[in-house]
């Protein structure tokens, strides 16, 4: 089981499960829920939070919250 916080830059993944956390509701409202595809885009200067591509939009998620998201890695994102 991988966690979103372990995903490398430009890594692509599919969300398996969002564990209970304060941000769960907010994350789901933004489209982070089982089945959704995420791409890690870039991180803030201090390495945290990181921005992920969710449903075509960039969303910033903190490492602590990302650690509550169980993912399955898929192929590398093809950069245009």
């Amino acid at each position: 089981m991988d966690r979103l916080s372990e995903l490398e830059k430009y890594g692509v993944c599919r969300v398996e499960k969002v564990l209970p956390c304060p941000a769960k509701e907010r994350l789901e409202a933004l489209g982070v829920f089982p089945g959704a595809e995420l791409v890690k885009l870039f991180t803030a200067p201090c390495g945290d939070p990181a921005a992920y591509l969710v449903k075509g939009a960039a969303v910033a998620i903190r490492r602590d919250d990302a650690a509550r998201i169980i993912i399955k890695r898929s192929a590398e994102w093809e950069r245009k």
């Binding site: 907010r26 409202a29 390495g47 945290d48 939009a57 910033a60």
Partner: protein, 614 residues
């Protein structure tokens, strides 16, 4: 605090339209241009901005050409109807209240799938809806095309493709709203909030959307990586800040001198005209030297920097830079027990602390929101920036350099100190009075958008510059009158006694009695401090930035006095308007008092230390 906000919401709803009118609700995700659509439909000038959570309360306006029959209600942006943020609560309350004759669902054509959850949920509540597919131009630019006929068929509602910023499709949208609102049927009424409908959203989007390129363009990624990079991120932001202040200071010098000259001529003319009337000499002197003189000084000192700073700031806001600042600053703010959204409210505080305190509503956790409100006046607002600019250039001169670049650098240093102080006090509060762990932080980074220069000028000059200036002017005139009254009687004047009385305290703080008096008279509006001080020193009113510097140097201001005055100015009690806002936002007099004590004691402490060391 929650109760307080709910009360404000209820009051707003009562103001909503009366019988005989149709009410139309404007619903959609954050940052899809709802406020722009609202402005285009109603002809209103509601402030728009390129970041999530800008609209924290709802506004009502009438559809243009409907003859006040159709009232549009612009609700805050929400990602769905099931979550529990203040925005979503407000939207749910508006839907549950019922009575609206239709809903306008604003969607983002460039990112349809994400808008569809809110759209589908709203459509499951009511069939009386028009779907406004906004940001069509942006979608086309990114190579995204939406089959509107197919979408309309799948959603079972009329779909209108628009680009509200350029006005495209707005007539068709207005016509569709009129059609839908006057069609008979049950009013919009929600009983239970619907379940999330992301699966359905993905299915519909896959059938309607075709794209040429990848959604996240390489150019945008490059820019984002630069603005958030390990080395480049914070440097780029600080450099940008320095550039904005450099342009403001250099650009303001000449116009400030010109306005000062013009207004002092005007003052002479007015005085001469009044002297021909039978009015008593003292009254004329009080009006012209006291009231008008102070008023004109404030205008000359404040107008040019504001007229430059506010458009520049609005430009950065429209570009979409503010959420990147929140993103970059999240880690430091989080280390101090808060979140990056507080950095956003700090940015608003550079404009106006009252606006910054209201902006704190977008911070989700009540604890962090309270911290944000209490610490906002640690950021110098536009009322204090011009004065700080004068002090920075004075400090540069004391250090042996008169260049604009050096003073801009010093000013940036002052502002960085203000930010560091904000962080320190945030930390202090979160380990003492407002203990708690930082909550979660989920923030959308919107695409960069090309700002509309014309709109920026109109909006920032009218909305912000004139607003702040008129507030300052309203206080300047009476304050000038009072000061004139107090300074009658030469050396025996009450004001001289006050300054003499405050002098020992002032010396302790590294300044003098006159400076302290000016700082205290600056309570109604911080803008007044420097003009007051010049008036106390010289008795004359007219002064532009350069003349002000000369007056201060003539009164023996060295590096020590300048620095001490800077600390007292930088960390000064919030102005009266901000205090009222803090009282309203926190719902308590005690918190308001604390919002005075925190910055004031920081300023006094720094000044005493500097005075002792230098």
């Amino acid at each position: 605090m929650g109760k307080e906000m709910k009360k404000a919401g209820a009051a707003k709803r009562k103001k909503r339209p009366e019988a005989g009118e149709s009410r139309v609700l404007l619903i959609g995700n954050p940052n899809v241009g709802k406020s722009t659509v609202f402005n285009a439909l109603t002809g209103a000038a509601r402030h728009t901005g390129n970041w999530t959570g800008k609209t924290v309360d709802s506004a009502v306006g009438y559809l243009k050409g409907s003859g006040r029959r159709i009232a549009l209600c612009d609700l805050p942006g929400c990602y769905g109807l099931e979550a529990t943020s203040p925005e979503e609560n407000e939207v749910r309350a508006a839907l549950a209240e019922g009575g609206a004759s239709c809903a306008v669902i604003v969607c983002d054509a460039s990112c349809l799938e994400r808008s569809l959850n809110t759209a589908l949920q709203t459509l499951s509540v009511t069939r009386r809806a028009v779907v406004c597919l906004n940001l069509a131009d942006e979608a086309a630019k990114h190579g995204v095309f939406v089959d509107t006929e197919k979408l309309s068929e799948l959603l079972g509602a009329e779909v209108v493709l628009t680009s509200a910023a350029s006005g495209k499709g707005m007539k068709a949208l207005a016509a569709a709203i009129v059609r839908e609102a006057s069609r008979g049927g049950d009013p919009v009424k929600m009983t239970d909030p619907p379940k999330p409908m992301w699966g359905e959203a993905a299915r519909i989007a896959s059938q309607c959307v075709t794209r040429d390129t990848d959604a996240f363009s390489a150019r945008r990624l490059k820019l984002d990586r630069f603005l958030t990079g390990r080395l480049t991120g914070l440097f780029a932001l600080a450099a940008l800040l320095a550039l904005v202040f450099y342009i403001t200071m250099r650009g303001a010098e000449y116009p400030s001198r010109l306005i000062s000259l013009g207004l002092s001529r005007l003052l002479q003319t007015v005085t001469r005209l009044l002297e021909k009337t039978p009015l008593p000499r003292d009254l004329i002197s009080a009006l012209c030297e006291g009231g008008l003189g102070t008023l004109f000084t404030v205008v000359a000192v404040m107008l040019p920097p504001m007229a430059i700073f506010f458009p520049l700031f609005t430009f950065l806001e429209d570009l979409g830079l503010l959420p990147r600042i929140a993103f970059d600053m999240d880690a430091p703010f989080r280390a101090c027990g808060s979140c990056g959204k507080q950095a956003l409210t700090c940015c608003m505080g550079f404009g106006c602390n009252a606006a910054g305190a209201i902006g704190c509503r977008m911070i989700d956790s009540p604890r962090e929101r309270l911290i944000g409100v209490l610490t906002n006046s640690f950021i110098p607002c536009n009322g204090r920036l011009p004065s700080l600019a004068v002090l920075a250039s004075l400090a540069a001169a004391c250090a042996g350099s008169g260049g604009g670049a050096v003073s801009a650098l010093i000013l940036t240093g002052f502002l960085v100190l203000a930010v560091l102080m904000t962080l320190a006090v945030t930390k202090l509060l979160s380990v003492t009075l407002l203990r708690g762990k930082p909550s979660s932080f989920v923030l959308e980074l919107p695409p960069f958008r090309r700002p509309k220069i014309g709109q920026i000028l109109v909006r920032s000059l009218i909305d912000r510059t004139l607003f702040v200036l008129s507030r300052a002017a309203a206080v300047a005139f009476p304050a000038g009158l009072v000061l004139w009254l107090l300074s009658r009687g030469g050396a025996e004047a009450p004001i001289c006694r006050v300054t003499a009385f405050l002098d020992p305290a002032g010396r302790l703080l590294g300044v003098d009695g006159a400076s302290l008096t000016a700082l205290i008279t600056g309570l109604p509006a911080n803008e007044l401090i420097m003009p007051m001080l010049v008036k106390l020193y010289t008795g004359a009113a007219d002064a532009d930035m350069a003349a002000m510097r000369a007056v201060l140097t003539a009164n023996g201001w060295g590096l020590k006095t300048t620095l001490c005055m800077t600390w007292l100015m930088l960390f000064h009690s919030p102005c009266a308007a901000t205090l009222l806002t803090v009282r309203r936002e926190t719902g308590s007099f005690g918190w308001m008092l604390l919002s005075v004590l925190l910055p004031a004691s920081a300023g006094v402490l720094l000044a005493v230390l500097t005075a002792a060391v230098l």
